[in-house]
């Protein structure tokens, strides 16, 4: 019964994935015959491609910011919206709303908000007399990556709030009641009950957000296309441009192999640290 699925999946997922490894050892412009170059692409990536190194750095910074803030916000909001009342359910529905939009729509909306001349953000800042803060968000190499990170956080925080709410609602209420009887403050309750009990959920949220941030493409493509001067380029946008704008297919494949390795490494590290965390807390 699994036959149709196995067939499509093998032919259009596993086979390309293997082929990708082969391409990564070739130099190929897509027109002339591919040339075997062994590990040359990887050596070049590791030693003499400053741009790619910067792009990996961008992606790591992007991921760190998104993971830290998105997780913190969603945990905070989930603790506020834990009880099922009309208001909290309504707010959860509102918060979740960006998740259903397409990333291109979100990218275009935020391009308008960030517009240095008539965008909503700068108009608001100027109206509050904060002219010096009205910057060229997407057009400045210093801010473009962070501006996109903010958009990403806006986009997916609501989804993570829902996951946290589901996780936090599993925590037995009598734990909090007992803590309250003992006179524990809200912060103590959070630190000693919510945080340790929510660790498994945090593991899920962090893992999902991390992978999502390493896969990010659409927002960058629709907001800055990696610019200015590659300041907001991420790994997937780099793979896309190397292949379909510079026609270096082999080199782009090598970059995508690096992406797989980075994702696997990060996931493995996270699993390890979170598991150690459980050990200590339990």
């Amino acid at each position: 019964m699994a036959l149709p699925a196995v067939a499509v999946y093998s032919f259009l997922y596993l086979y390309p994935a293997v082929q990708n490894l082969l391409y990564a050892t070739e130099r190929w412009d897509g027109v002339t015959k591919p040339q075997q170059v062994g590990l040359h692409n990887f050596v070049h990536l590791a030693t003499s491609d400053d741009l790619f190194r910067r792009i990996v750095g961008n992606n790591i910074r992007f991921t760190l910011i998104v993971v830290i803030f998105q997780t913190a916000f969603s945990l905070l909001f989930a603790t506020f919206l834990l009880k099922n009342t009309k208001t909290t359910i309504f707010l959860r529905v509102i918060y979740f709303f960006p998740t259903i939009l397409s990333s291109v729509s979100v990218g275009l909306i935020w391009t308008f908000l960030y517009n240095p001349n008539f965008g909503f953000i700068n108009a608001t800042l100027k109206a509050m007399g904060l002219n010096s803060l009205a910057l060229n968000w997407l057009g400045d190499t210093k801010y473009s990556l962070y501006a996109i990170a903010v958009t990403q956080i806006w986009f997916h925080t609501g989804q993570m709030v829902i996951i946290y709410v589901a996780g936090l609602q599993q925590i037995p209420a009598d734990l909090y009641e007992a803590a309250e009887v003992d006179g524990a403050t809200r912060w103590q309750q959070f630190k000693n009950i919510t945080w340790p009990m929510a660790l498994p959920t945090t593991a899920v949220v962090v893992a999902y957000t991390t992978i999502q941030s390493f896969r990010a493409f659409d927002l960058v493509y629709s907001m800055t296309q990696g610019g200015p001067q590659n300041s907001s380029d991420l790994i997937v946008t780099s793979i896309y441009n190397t292949a379909f704008a510079s026609f270096k297919y082999g080199y782009a494949s090598a970059q995508s192999v690096v992406l797989i390795l980075v994702v696997l490494l990060v996931t493995w590290l996270q699993r390890r640290t979170l598991r150690i965390d459980y050990g200590v807390k339990k």
């Binding site: 506020f80 959860r92 797989i260």
Partner: protein
């Protein structure tokens, strides 16, 4: 203190969602200068001029139709293939079942984005570029692993006795799949279907690479084109965003629960 902090934070994020959304909805009924001067004000007159222009000049109907075709077929076929495979995996206690599961789990470890180059060359060879069928095939392949993952866990939750009783009554696997597994997991199928629909409807990367012909473009591609075409006209862009988002918003309003369940199941199980 706590109350003030809580309410402030909650209001700020609610506004952060509501304000941009309102700008888009209101903007779709405004002229450009109205958007630039005061994006949150109500339009001077409510009319559908922007929508009319978009349909005539932007020819938005074709990409809309393409997106509907691609998403519906992708979701239907993926659900069929994935549920068949998931049923097999859930019922097979032998090594084959576990091997199959491992095989599909591999797909969760390798991000689908890394396959763009081999897929592109394969599709050029098979004449599947500029083809909606090609997009549907890619969508199926990309979403099978996660769908199988979600559905297997649901099929495993169905009490074993249900399957066994049917087996004693002489029902074959296909029959048990159709009359027991599927009906009992209808909410799961619905939620997974919505999750898949959102992915297919919003996908940019693969269409961007595989589609160049105007009459084969999907909505996200058309939105990207509009950005260039109407670079200075946010009223047109906002109208296009409205058109592209309306099916999702309608589904979200009517099927909120399955929507949220589906999109979070995708995250948790993945």
């Amino acid at each position: 203190m706590y109350k003030v902090f809580k309410n402030t934070m909650l209001s700020i994020f609610a506004l952060a969602v509501i304000v941009p959304s309102s700008i888009v909805v209101l903007g779709a009924f405004k002229k450009d200068n109205e958007i630039y001067s005061n994006p949150l004000a109500l339009p001077k007159s409510w009319n559908f001029n922007n929508f009319r222009t978009l349909i005539h000049e932007g020819n938005v109907f074709t990409p809309f139709k393409n997106s509907v075709i691609v998403s519906l077929f992708s979701v239907a076929i993926t659900l069929l293939f994935a549920s068949l495979a998931a049923y097999g995996i859930a019922r097979m206690t032998t090594i084959t079942g576990r091997m199959l599961f491992m095989l599909f789990s591999l797909g969760l470890a390798i991000p689908g984005q890394v396959n763009i180059i081999p897929i592109y060359h394969l599709f050029v060879k098979l004449h599947l570029t500029n083809s909606l069928v090609g997009l549907i095939l890619v969508n199926i392949a990309l979403t099978l692993p996660i769908s199988i993952f979600i559905l297997t866990s649901f099929f495993k939750d169905i009490p074993k006795e249900m399957y066994e009783v049917a087996g004693i009554d002489g029902a074959g696997h296909l029959r048990i799949y159709r009359s027991i597994a599927l009906p009992l997991s209808r909410p799961a199928l619905g939620a997974t279907g919505i999750f898949l629909f959102v992915i297919c409807w919003n996908d940019l990367l693969y269409p961007l690479m595989l589609i160049t012909q105007l009459d084969k473009k999907t909505l996200p591609l058309t939105l990207i084109d509009f950005r260039g075409e109407f670079a200075t006209s946010y009223s047109m862009l906002f109208t296009a965003i409205m058109v592209a988002s309306v099916p999702m918003i309608a589904m979200y309003i009517f099927m909120q629960r399955s929507f949220i369940a589906g999109l979070t199941a995708g995250a948790v199980k993945g």
